[in-house]
């Protein structure tokens, strides 16, 4: 089996729970951020920019750049790299300013 980070540190994570991203169900490990959950599912973009409608995801990874903004449970502009995932979270691709702009 291919080596992975969980194996490296011999992690024994607590049982996974489910969240959704744009309607699709994803597995999430307790303690992981929204960004980590999306990465685990192979998803690297969850925002479309306000001006040019371009995809964005994690850039700085430590809460400085605000590139990873995402809408979680209808709350826009959450930093995916900082926000821990919770069971049942409804994650949606954030478009534009996240406030439903035309």
């Amino acid at each position: 089996m291919r080596r992975n980070p969980l194996m490296l540190v011999e992690a024994q994570p607590e049982p996974a729970f489910q969240v959704t991203f744009d309607g699709a169900t994803l597995d999430a490990l307790p303690g992981q951020t929204i960004a980590a959950v999306l990465w685990s599912a192979g998803i690297t973009a969850w925002r479309r920019t306000r001006v040019d409608d371009r995809p964005r995801g994690v850039f700085c990874g430590i809460g400085v750049c605000f590139d990873c903004l995402v809408t979680v449970n209808d709350m826009p502009n959450q930093r995916a790299c900082l926000l821990p995932a919770q069971p049942g979270d409804v994650i949606t691709t954030q478009r534009g300013d996240g406030h439903g702009a035309a």
Partner: protein, 459 residues
């Protein structure tokens, strides 16, 4: 509102060392950090619920961390240190009379603000990565090297399967090694610096054998994965439509580019200090955009200390000794005493600082990077301002500094307040990198701002 003798903002190496040293000397300390656990970026902890049994495999200096962790636990037990986790400081103001009031939003939701008053304050707020722009740098899959490391340590996740690590600076080695150890295929490690530059700093390097050994250790780990750093190479473009598909790497001659397929690029061109709180309090910013401090880590604002990367980029060992000096100075000064026996720590500090300066000087961004930024490249990621707009503001509209460029183009007006785009805009515009005045260290809901009084905030 709780009042402490000393507040320390930031629980990374500098803040931990400061809080522990001050508590050792008998002070009652509030240690404030945005994360759930202490450690900062360097000792960023794997989420507890992931139950990592061998966390040390992701860290350098694990035994040092264990010692800090245990000393923090003992001080928390005796209530010398109050650890305020998940507090995101958005503003610090001078208190009426003396001292400071720290305002912080609470928890991941950040819908509520709390205030902490303290007679003295240590700023140990760290730094963040500098990334110089290049065509394609806004594509998903391009991220900072430190960000890749933070995501790996905290959440045990990788940015992709096949990763290129590039840029300039000492961070590239441990990041590439960590990604490889965790199972990523590292498709190359490229540092634009010229190794001959290290020859100019033999003395500073030779006086820090333990730091050299740290570097050799990282290199050996890379070699174990069949990798080595290619110096004088840099990524000059990223390809892909909706995400990274490949990068082009150019060598010393600059002419021939080589295309490397990958699904992630971890990039870093060194680090920058966080200075907004110090600036808002009126502290002087010195060389290299860092908070200016004296030999006791005191700023020029009364009862305000600073330690670690915020006073100049230098790594964890330097941060630890600076934090210790700040904590001991604060413990003495806040009680009207003179600090004693700082000389040995100050010598260590000088030696490590000389090493850090030598590294900063030797590692260098690729020559002519600003000229290679195409007109259509987005410089300001938040407001999507292109290099063409910035160039027009300078050549056509009379802008001579970052502030005017911001006013004319919106570069630096977005969510990150110019922290990320500052170096790129300044480089392309040919003007100095001057930190913007940002009284809000992070965005704050107007409703929170309107009600801080009710939380015991400012009166």
């Amino acid at each position: 509102m709780a009042r402490h003798e000393l507040a320390v903002i930031g629980a990374g190496p500098a803040g931990l060392a400061a809080a522990i040293a001050a508590a050792d000397a008998g002070l009652r300390v509030a240690l404030i950090d945005g994360a759930a656990d202490a450690g900062g970026q360097f000792y960023r902890q794997t989420a507890r619920q992931l139950h990592a049994r061998r966390p040390e495999r992701l860290y350098h200096g694990w035994s040092e961390w264990e010692s800090l962790r245990d000393r923090l636990a003992a001080h928390r037990e005796s209530e010398r240190i109050t650890f305020l986790a998940e507090r995101h400081v958005w503003h610090v103001e001078p208190a009426d009379g003396d001292g400071f009031v720290v305002h912080a939003q609470v928890g991941p939701e950040q819908q509520r603000s709390e205030s902490v008053a303290a007679g003295g304050l240590v700023l140990a707020v760290g730094g963040y990565e500098r990334v110089l722009p290049f065509p394609g740098w806004t594509l998903p899959g391009v991220l900072t090297a430190g960000g890749a490391q933070a995501m790996l340590k905290a959440g045990l996740v990788l940015p992709g399967r096949r990763v290129v690590v590039a840029g300039a600076g000492p961070l590239l080695l441990p990041v590439a090694g960590g990604l490889a150890a965790a199972g990523a295929e590292v498709a190359g490690v490229f540092d634009s610096s010229d190794p001959r530059a290290f020859g100019r700093h033999v003395r500073a390097l030779a006086q820090n054998p333990e730091k050299l050994a740290e570097g050799v250790g990282y290199a050996a780990r890379l070699a174990w994965h069949g990798l080595r750093v290619r110096f004088r190479y840099s990524v000059i473009a990223v390809h892909g439509d909706e995400r990274v598909e490949a990068v082009t790497v150019a060598g010393p001659d600059g002419s021939r580019g080589r295309r490397i397929e990958c699904d992630a690029l971890a990039v870093s061109h060194g680090m920058l200090p966080h200075t907004e709180i110090a600036q808002t309090l009126g502290a002087r910013i010195g060389i290299r955009g860092a908070v200016a401090v004296d030999t006791e880590q005191r700023t020029d604002v009364a009862n305000l200390w600073a330690a670690g990367e915020t006073t100049g980029i230098g790594g964890a060992a330097l941060s630890l000794v600076e934090g210790e000096i700040a904590g001991r100075s604060a413990a003495a000064r806040l009680r009207g005493d003179m600090p004693r026996d700082l000389a040995a720590s100050q010598r260590t500090r000088r030696r490590l600082a000389a090493f850090a300066e030598a590294l900063e000087d030797a590692y260098s961004a690729p020559a002519g990077w600003a000229d290679r930024v195409t007109d259509e490249t987005v410089l300001c990621r938040c407001e999507e301002v292109t290099a063409a707009s910035v160039r027009e503001a300078v050549s056509e509209l009379g802008a001579t500094d970052l502030r005017t460029i911001k006013l004319l183009t919106r570069a630096g007006m977005g969510w990150c307040q110019g922290r990320i785009c500052g170096p790129g805009v300044a480089g392309v515009a040919g003007c100095p990198l001057t930190p913007a005045n940002t009284p809000f260290a992070r965005p704050v809901p107007l409703g929170v701002l309107a009600e801080i009084d009710d939380n015991g905030g400012s009166e």
